[in-house]
Every structure is written in structure tokens, then in C-alpha cells.
Symmetry: C2
Subunit: 147 residues, 2 copies
């Protein structure tokens, strides 16, 4: 049951961590709710907001993205472009099990669902004592069109 992230969840987590529910934070989260499955950079978010006439300082966008990622609401990722991108997660841990496939020709990013990592993470805990909380998997290759 992939339960979606909502404004209420934002409110809850902010309160739990003694942060304030500001208009800016709601607006930033809303961008991601309206763009599910997209990997947005700070500049992307800033641009989308400007287009909607909702003007927020770029620094605040950066600060909000950081905070939302810290709260586990957004997931931060990098695709080797020299900047970070963010994506909304869901409440269910199962949903973390999606991996990115990056086409080395056209640059498109595809996704793939899988739960093979659980096994591997348990194995790592047993053999190394390293307790895994999250993971990121990136595959590089050529998509159907570009091969």
C-alpha cells in the first residue's frame, strides 16, 4: 500500500522536530506532490514556482529541500551533473526499492521496482556490522531506443 506523502505528514514531522510550518515549506512540498516521479533540482523547483507567480527566494528553496530531505519526505540524489535532485518518497519503505537507470546516450532517467536489496542489506549487517538505513542504486547503460 504505497501511502502518499501529504501536507499533514509535513505538519506532523515539522512539529516533531520543532520546526515551523511555513507557507514556503508547504509550497515547495506542493511542487513535488504535483510532479510525482520527477527528479527536480533546486533550480527546477525555483523555476516552477516563478512560473506560478509564487515567488520564493532561491536560498529558501535550498533550505526547504534540505529540511524536507532530512525529514525523510524528499529523497536527495545525484546523477553526476554537478547538482542535486530531489524526489518525493512515500510512507511505505517498500517504495524505497526503486532504482534509477541512466541512459549514457540520451541521458534519460528510467526507474525500476525491485526488492532484491533487502536480502543484501541483511547480509551486510551480519558480516560487517554496518546498519543500513537507506540505499541508492544507479545503473548506467543504454535504453531501448539508444542501443
Amino acid at each position: 500500500m504505497p501511502e502518499k506523502i501529504t501536507m499533514d505528514i509535513l505538519k506532523q514531522r515539522l512539529q516533531k522536530n520543532k520546526h515551523k510550518l511555513t507557507m514556503q515549506r508547504r509550497i515547495v512540498l506542493n511542487v513535488f506532490i504535483e510532479h510525482p516521479g520527477e527528479h527536480l533540482s533546486a533550480e527546477d523547483v525555483y523555476g516552477i514556482l516563478r512560473d506560478h507567480g509564487q515567488d520564493i527566494g532561491l536560498a529558501t528553496v535550498y533550505r526547504s529541500l534540505d529540511l524536507l530531505a532530512e525529514l525523510g519526505i524528499l529523497q536527495k540524489m545525484e546523477f553526476g551533473e554537478g547538482k542535486s535532485r530531489y524526489e518525493v518518497g512515500t510512507m511505505s519503505p517498500d517504495e524505497h526499492q526503486h532504482h534509477h537507470m541512466i541512459c549514457m546516450k540520451c541521458g534519460k532517467v528510467f526507474e525500476f521496482q525491485d526488492d532484491l536489496m533487502d536480502k543484501l542489506e541483511k547480509h551486510i549487517l551480519q558480516t560487517t556490522g554496518f546498519k543500513i538505513v537507506d540505499h541508492q542504486v544507479k545503473f548506467y547503460g543504454y535504453c531501448k531506443e539508444c542501443q
Copy 2:
């Protein structure tokens, strides 16, 4: 048999791609050969070279790292610090099967050998048609000391 990267391999791959074997490129590769298993940033490499009295322009270090990664001699990676790091690979594809575990408290990067990904990559090719050439797996969590 994890066959190590050597100067000869650099020479071969440069020739095959119509690039020149310059002193600077040899020196940069040498840094990695002398620092196996380390994840060096451009600035790290630049610093090591300065310490050895082998002065190379920083821009050239960047250009060499790019090229060596393109030739498959180095592997480029990011750990969310806002800069790229590089590591020498080996000739054997089996050696690509090591993953990074990043401690969220002390920031140390650990490694783990595993070949579970093969299965997953075959599965992805069959179901999506995406042909995988390389992958990068990062685990975030807490190391033995920091738990």
C-alpha cells in the same frame, strides 16, 4: 583474477581513442595506482601532486580525470559532498561488484564485495530492454562504531 590497471593499459586505450599519452596523464594515473582503494577528489589529486613536487595545472587534473573515467580506467562517483571522487578500477568486471556504505554519523566510506547485481541486471534487460553497462550502489546507515 582481478587484473590491475597499468600504464600499458592507459597507453592502449589512449591510442585506440586517438588521444595522446602525455606526462600529465601518466602522472595522474600514477597517483591512483599508488593509492589503491581510495576515493580521491580532483583537489586531493592536485594536493598529492604538489606534495611530490610534480606541479600540474588544476584544470589539467580535471581534464585528465574526465578522460580517464571516459576510458573506463577510473570510476567517477559522488557521495553528496558537492564534488566528485574517483577510484581506479581493474580489468575484471567482477571487481565492479563492490558497493559503498556511507556512515551517516562519521561520514566514513566502507566497501563491500558482492555479485548479487548480475541477477538483477539480467532481469532488468529482460523486462525493460535497458542494457546495463555499469552500476553504482550506495548504502546509507551507521557503522559499527557509530551505532
